[in-house]
Symmetry: C2
């Protein structure tokens, strides 16, 4: 069989603010691969079906001299992130051609993976009747983030109040539903009317558009809050600190205000951490929680999703060439649901 194109998305330049498709990332079709002959060296050859476009990828588009919780992408090489792929050939015992895997792969059509370490790859169990792309969302890293962070830090009690930011995203919408299952009143924010409607549809008691409604006023009226799920930081975090109840738990899952405009921020209510006896927990799910809670996650969550007890929505974009634009849209919060790129049909 002759070689075929192995299109890629190359990291080309470090963005200073928002990423720029065609400049900071470049779609490239210059590479080919011989699917039958390429040596696997004990690994597997996989065909990429879906790729996930996550906000955290922005943090990896940085000067490698700057330390962070994630590695920096290398200029001239493909970016990488979560993907679902089908195994075409395998030299790993127990992994058959035709099986499906989820894990970190390069943004290219075909990848050779040297191993499938269980802490890095999940072999998808097809008995659960859920679309493969869900393994990038409710059944993937976002779902783990929501389920494991809530499980570990919320200490939620029936009748309490939770405030969930970015509540229409794959993590936030999952958290809203976990909070409702636990019997909490849920306040949730997002940046468009469509997202507000979606948050209501998954159970949020108070859903609002933070672009047209003042967050602090809503929290003063609907709080005090016992659990704060933060994806935002900055002023929103400060408002949550102001309206927290004594003994409140803050779950610091993200601070998107700091990703594209890092720098000093003003807070009025940091002192409330002390005066209100708050506990503020930062976490990176794969660093602290995944090894302890992975088994529980795969035992519980696929059933919650396939039964419809946890609802999930995604936005599928076709073609690897769309990656740069989708990535920019996600950074700007323009996507309406979990953004996924369908690189190939599963045929």
């Amino acid at each position: 069989m002759p070689s075929v194109t192995n299109a890629r998305v190359i990291f080309n330049d470090i963005p200073t603010g928002y990423p720029e498709p065609g400049k900071t990332t470049v779609y490239d079709e210059s590479t080919t691969i011989d699917l039958d002959a390429v040596p696997l060296n004990g690994g597997v050859l996989v065909k990429t079906l879906f790729l996930s476009v996550d906000p955290f990828l922005r943090g990896m588009m940085r000067d490698p001299g700057i330390d962070s919780y994630s590695p920096a992408f290398k200029i001239g090489e493909p970016i990488y992130g979560y993907g679902v792929a089908r195994v075409l050939r395998s030299e790993i015992a127990g992994v058959e051609a035709g099986s499906y895997v989820e894990g970190i792969i390069s943004f290219q059509q075909y990848n050779i993976l040297p191993n499938l370490a269980p802490d890095a790859f999940h072999i998808i169990d097809k008995k659960h009747k859920v679309p493969l792309s869900y393994y990038l969302g409710a059944l993937g890293m976002p779902g783990k983030t929501a389920f494991m962070g809530w499980r570990k830090f919320s200490q939620a009690k029936e009748g309490e109040t939770a405030f969930v930011t970015t509540g229409a995203g794959p993590v936030g919408s999952f958290v809203i539903q976990l909070a409702k299952l636990a019997g909490l009143k849920v306040i949730a924010s997002a940046g468009s009317e469509d997202k507000v409607a979606f948050m209501r549809s998954v159970g949020a008691d108070v859903a609002f558009n933070y672009k047209t409604t003042n967050t602090l006023e809503i929290l003063r009226k609907e709080g005090p809050i016992d659990v704060y799920w933060d994806h935002v930081g900055g002023e929103t975090l400060d408002a949550a600190l102001e309206t927290a109840r004594v003994g409140g738990r803050f779950i610091e899952c993200g601070m998107i205000t700091q990703y594209n405009n890092p720098g000093p921020e003003t807070f009025k209510n940091i002192v409330n951490i002390m005066t209100k006896s708050l506990s503020v927990h930062g976490f990176i799910v794969l660093r602290e929680l995944d090894d302890k809670l992975r088994e529980e996650f795969y035992n519980v969550v696929p059933e919650l999703v396939s039964s419809g007890n946890i609802q999930y929505r995604e936005e599928i974009h076709d073609g690897l060439e769309s990656a740069g634009n989708v990535f920019l849209a996600v950074q700007k919060g323009l996507n309406k649901a979990k953004a996924v790129i369908r690189v190939a049909e599963d045929v």
Copy 2:
């Protein structure tokens, strides 16, 4: 027996910045009490021996319309705080005249206490050979704050590094010693050379004067830090966030930068709570920890102190009339050790 003077320290005016002796508090000798005849109504009459001058009293000198974790003092009435007193007469079964109690009492020479609820008063066990005034420090609220906060939140492991602010104070110096007993490297800061020498004498590995040495530079050199004991907030907290190790625990015991100058503050490193998976714990010892850990505290700490395994120092000022000046000195950090007022000799 004729009536005797019952001198008091009256809360006279709400301070806007630092308290002003003679204006915000007034020493008053206009009241008398008949020690033999005054009705107890089922309570006890006690003679004040020692009163504690604590930083947190400033927060109670406020407009009562402002909500806080502590009540506001009432204009025209005596201020109150922790004291040690001898029981002169008692109508409470099991509390004999001649016994000693520690708890919240008014800043006056004699007090009638309606009850001695065990969560508000401690009957001092004289079998431990420690000075009575220590029940305002290492064996009182500061000692409880240090012991219980450390016990609950530090998760300290041998070989880790702790940073303790206000390390010469009754809480900070106790924390330094607990950290050393647990096998940690201890960095400690205070505001004078005398305090630095004291912190070294109780075991701090790196002790520095934050007024003459840059905190951030010290932490960059001696960190990263696993446990941060905060009494300061503001810039110092921001420096600790910058130099924390992944998984660090922050114990928010106080934020003195906010007490006399409340208002917005600038932080550069709040995002590190997330990126470094920090846990930040606020607490008020009597609100969350005392009921759970009181028994352990009185079982363990008197022996630690009387044996010299925990060292403690205090600064005794004579006479209730000194209260206003001592209070101001404590707010300015001019005291060299736990500030205590000896109201009367124990005769």
